[in-house]
Amino acid sequence: MTALLSTRDLVVGYEGRTVLDGLELDLPADAFTVVVGPNACGKSTVLRTMARLLTPRRGAVLLDGAQIRDLPTRDVARRLGVLPQSPLVPEGITVADLVGRGRQPYQRWWRQWSAEDGRAVDEAMRLADVTALADRAVDTLSGGQRQRVWIAMTLAQDTDALLLDEPTTFLDLAHQVEVLDLLHRLRVERGRTVVAVLHDLNQAARYADHLVAMRDGAVVAAGPPREILDAGLVRDVFGLDCVVVPCPVTGAPLVVPARTQTSAAPPARTHSSAAPAGTPAPAGAPVGDA
């Protein structure tokens, strides 16, 4: 595989705390990569560092083999789209206007708009299915619509790769699936490289071509989910006992938490007891990540 983004001996920290210590990671081009791991494992930190939102203390992030910190940020923005975890919606901004901001790296103060900009914005809004919302104010939209608008903005950047930090958090199940389907289409139909941090292991297993499991700032395993995701990995990464069965819909690995102390004991609420092993859990159920 050819690596689009790589990290070499990456050391990143906040204030006094070191989050990543010598991380080596290669993310393949033309794949949907999903990074999973428990809270505070450094998965968002990796993504943010690769997106040059964080400056590493040591080591390098390579974009197509070139050190990303040596590239002009405008050039990087034409190759790498970034969607942060909870972007701030400018008050009163319309959908079309916000999506248009994605054209920033192609614009200059004297040439603030081109026909190409218009085409890219229209195309991005169509892909993300927000064309009908073009004139609406973003802060009046639902969470799912809003997330599609943000994705449309990064699509308008017309980059080969997209990095998304927990794009499904705060969305209900239907909207989570909608967003992940969109990312899947981008990867399959448009040949974009997609990298996302996700919380839900089962969604990661279903959509990812390449899964990266992290714990304590290090990569525990990386590869196709069907090859690497098993009960042992979940125990190593999340410290949770579970059963891994084939998903009845896609055949991808499906992680079902095993009976724990709480669910085995007579519970106060009957519906909280774990489903018997082998029965598929609802796709959106939180898995091993409190």
């Binding site: 943010r48 997106a51 040059r52 939102l53 940020t73 050039d75 990087v76 923005a77 789209g81 970034v82 969607l83 942060p84 972007p87 701030l88 400018p90 008050e91 009163g92 901004i93 319309t94 959908v95 079309a96 206007d97 248009g100 901001r101 920033q104 790296p105 103060w109 004297w110 040439r111 603030q112 708009w113 081109s114 026909a115 190409e116 900009d117 218009g118 085409r119 890219a120 229209d122 195309e123 809004m125 892909l127 064309t131 073009a134 004139d135 903005m153 990064t154 950047q157 017309d158 389907d181 899947h184 289409r185 399959v188 139909e189 448009r190 040949g191 279903r206 959509y207 819909v249 896609t250």
Partner: protein, 385 residues
């Protein structure tokens, strides 16, 4: 249902090749204005039209143009009224004839006594409008203005010291300018640790403002009462007894800043985005903030040094302009025009309301601008949600 199946849609790159590049390759025939509906471009321009002059392409809102033209007409009318009212009263017709150099008996009153002050009011108001727009955008706070971030107090402290220490009168304005800039440097230094993030910028500003205000009180209380009174008047801000000299300084500052302001008008566009999103689309948010805030502070310090703390204009003009234009951030040109209009009206009211007693313009800007801001706020809220 398995993983979603591809639907046959042409890719972005196919479209880019297939779409006719008619506009881009059209021979240049003077400025062209393109409406959003032309060329079947749908909502991509977000309700804006496009002005094209050769390689220059700038999207604009018709609404902003209309607002700017209306404000300009109102400003000119206010200046004429301001030149007309007073003792003696000069009919507007005679004002216009005098201004056109026709030679009237009123030339002295209109051109030498009233015009300098009206021009000063317009320029100072415009500079405050620009400063307020820039500072509010960086602070992401509609309440931020030069006096919230300490520039006014820095200028005020230096002016108070100059006025109460018997320094030459010509030194007051330069001292105030340096004082305002010194306060700004302090705020920048305190706010720099977190990349001049909005919250920290405002907090640092408020802290500096309070410290300088306390020092002003100390200087005033220990000074001769007469000097203290002069300093008090300076602090409120007045245009009385001022004219071409002060106007020239402000005009000069704005002229020097003009190229920066053209850049700022564009750079402000990204200021409403959070830092991560801004970096993602290839901006350098911290450098931008320092540039924008620095420009705003320069304008604020320059104008405050000349006319004192008439800075309610800087607070109200950007917010009212923003609501008139219905934009997601204050529009700089309209804010400047509105600031000019507000200060011309405030100075006129200050001159005439209790004539022959003159009220300082600083008192009147708050009296006129405050209720209007409340009115606009109420009206906007009623319509939007």
């Amino acid at each position: 249902m398995t993983t979603p199946t591809p639907t046959p849609t042409p890719s972005a790159r196919d479209l880019a090749v297939a779409a006719p590049a008619n506009r881009a390759n059209a021979p240049f025939e003077g400025p062209q204005v393109q409406d959003r509906r032309s060329g079947g471009r749908g909502g991509a321009l977000a309700g804006k039209a496009l002005l094209r002059v050769g390689p220059v392409a700038v999207p604009f809102r018709w609404r902003a143009v209309v607002v700017a033209v209306v404000l300009l007409v109102l400003l000119l009318a206010a200046v004429v009224v301001s030149l007309s009212l007073g003792t003696p009263y000069v009919a507007p017709v005679d004002v216009l004839r005098s201004l056109s150099g026709a030679g009237t008996p009123y030339d002295l009153v209109v051109r030498d006594l009233r015009l300098p002050r009206a021009v000063l009011a317009a320029l100072a108001g415009a500079a405050f409008g620009v400063a307020g727009t820039l500072i509010q955008s960086v602070a992401r706070n509609p309440l931020a203005s030069p006096d919230v971030i300490g520039v006014t107090q820095g200028a005020g402290l230096a002016a108070t010291i100059a006025l109460t220490s018997g320094a030459a009168a010509v030194l007051v304005a330069p001292a105030a300018l340096l004082g305002g800039l010194a306060a700004a440097v302090l705020v920048f230094a305190l706010g720099a640790r977190h990349g001049l993030a909005a919250q920290r910028f405002v907090l640092a500003g408020v802290a500096v403002a309070f410290a300088f205000r306390a020092l002003i009180e100390v200087v005033m209380l220990t000074a001769d009462p007469i000097d203290g009174l002069r300093a008090q008047l300076w602090l409120i801000g007045t245009l009385a007894g001022k004219g071409w000299t002060e106007a020239a300084w402000i005009a000069g500052t704005l002229a020097v800043l003009l190229p920066v302001l053209l850049w700022a008008g564009w750079a402000l566009r990204g200021s409403a985005l959070d830092d991560d999103t801004a970096r993602g689309i290839g901006l350098r948010p911290v450098a931008r903030r320092i540039g924008l805030a620095g420009t705003g502070v320069l304008a604020a310090a320059a104008v405050t040094a000349q006319v004192g703390a008439v800075d309610f204009v800087a607070l109200v003009a950007p917010q009212v302009a923003r609501r008139l234009v219905r934009a997601e951030r204050p529009p700089m040109l309209c804010a400047a025009l509105l600031g000019a209009l507000l200060l011309v009206l405030a100075d006129l009211a200050g001159r005439r309301l209790f004539a022959p007693t003159q009220l300082p313009a600083g008192v009147l800007t708050a009296a006129i601008g405050g209720p209007y801001l409340i009115f606009v706020l109420l009206r906007t809220r009623g319509r939007r949600s």
